[in-house]
Amino acid sequence: MAQLTCKDVSLGYEGHVILSGLNFSVSAGNYLCIVGENGSGKSTLMKTILGLQKPLGGSITFGDGLQNNEIGYLPQQTQVQKDFPATVWEIVLSGCQARAGRRPYYNKEEKALARENMDKMNVSQFARRCYRELSGGQQQRVLLARALCATRKLLLLDEPVTGLDPKVTLEMYQLIEQLNREDRVTVIMISHDIVSAVKYASHILHIGHEVFFGPTQDYLQSALARRFLTVEGGDQNA
């Protein structure tokens, strides 16, 4: 049974439809990349999956023992204000807020979990540093550690490598791949890096005027992919 099923979903804001008739499903251990042009509705789809907004039509269901609060989310742009005083430790620990539930303070296990995830993401040395003083790549790893505190099952990542240099980008991809392979975390990732998307992902969801959903091999055979890959890939080589 699938962890996440979207049936005939329509997306949009205040009655204005961006995308409709979307069908796809994600099973445990999948690595799904969502690709498409700017403004095609990728972030909107992710927010709808997270329940931050309602779908205009259709249904989104969770299965396979996944609760809808067992999702780890890495936003495209954190609405965090520049002057927010918060240490890395405080932020990663806040990923445990669902685990703590009504309990006002975090317990030993939650703190241990936060420490473990900081180790995993290589940010332990920054624990007492202020978040806003870190580099973009370090910040992304902190937010990924926070997302891991919220879930062991499903990660939703909105453009996790945008703005990172090639070396850090590669490290980020490897971290995510490791989580997917070794810890069996299901990954749904939005990316403009189509070359890496087809390299790492098991499935591709392409949204826009034409929609494609299926295994990566099938995607590579499609006419849609060939067009998209030449444009975007060409951009990258230029």
Partner: protein
């Protein structure tokens, strides 16, 4: 001068003033960071004007304990403002401006139509800038203040981690199942309570100063949410005590003296930050 101070401290009304002043300063500093970072400062400002209008109405209706009317009215407005503010940002802004300026105008008009004393402008000045009223608090009002302050501090301590999470990243909190709307509502209600409390101390025009200055000062030096919260609480209480004592000795208005102390602290912290103190501190 110390003898004089000792003599004043012997008076119950001075003791009351200090107790109430410390509690109000503590409460108002706690949510300062959240207020500034969540862009709620404008709600705080709007609500203080609402409290002014409510005060005027309470005066006309000859309600003995004004706070019993002003408090529910302000809390109600806080909830209304949050509701409109959430749906559509821009219209929410306009709604807040309308309600706040509206209550200011109606309040002033009512005070003129039904004057409590012969000197209307002094009454108005009192409600806007605070007065010596903190020195004339009745025992009931002191207890009300103590009760509300304890409630505010308890709520803050109980929900500290959730308030941090919701302030830092609302979307993430929402996605992990935290009831963000409920916490936003809680924050707005607590802010309304704080504003009504603080009105006694500094008057409705100066409330925002009491809430925002300590947080802004603390943010100059500290880098963690906890550090900033603790520092701004300590700072706010110190400034309140110093301000009250100075105003008693020098006969200056209580509210503006406290705010002046906050401004001095802010300048001091800015200079320290420039000198690099606490730059690497957590």
């Amino acid at each position: 001068m110390l003898d004089q101070l000792r003599m004043y401290l012997g008076f119950p009304f001075v003791q009351y003033a200090l107790i109430v002043g410390v509690l109000i300063a503590l409460c108002s500093s706690l949510l300062g960071v959240t207020l500034v970072l969540k862009r709620f400062s404008f709600i705080g400002d709007g609500l203080s004007h609402v409290a002014f209008g409510a005060m005027a109405i309470a005066g006309i209706m000859h309600i003995n304990s004004e706070m019993l009317f002003v408090l529910p009215a302000t809390v109600l407005c806080a909830i209304l403002l949050l509701r409109t503010g959430q749906n559509t940002r821009i219209k929410g802004d306009a709604a807040i401006a309308m309600i706040s300026v509206g209550s200011l105008a109606v309040g002033y008009m009512l005070l003129n139509l039904f004057p409590k004393s012969s000197n209307v402008s002094s009454d108005v000045c009192t409600s806007l800038f605070g007065s010596t009223s903190i020195l004339t608090l009745s025992l009931t009002e002191v207890w009300l203040c103590v009760g509300l302050s304890i409630a505010v501090v308890a709520i803050f301590l109980l929900f500290y981690n959730k308030i941090f999470a919701v302030t830092f990243d609302e979307d993430f909190s929402h996605s992990t199942g935290t009831r963000v709307e409920a916490y936003n509502l809680l924050i707005a209600v607590v802010i309304a309570v704080i504003i009504v409390l603080a009105m006694n101390l500094v008057g409705s025009l100066l409330i925002s100063a009491l809430i925002i200055f300590p947080a802004m000062s603390a943010m100059r030096l500290f880098r963690s949410f906890k550090g900033v919260t603790i520092c701004s609480a300590v700072l706010s209480v110190s400034c309140a005590v110093i301000g009250i004592l100075i105003s008693i000795l020098a006969g200056t208005p209580v509210g503006s003296t406290i705010v002046a102390a906050d401004i001095v602290a802010f300048l001091l912290f800015s200079v320290l930050a420039r000198l690099g103190v606490g730059a690497r501190k957590a």
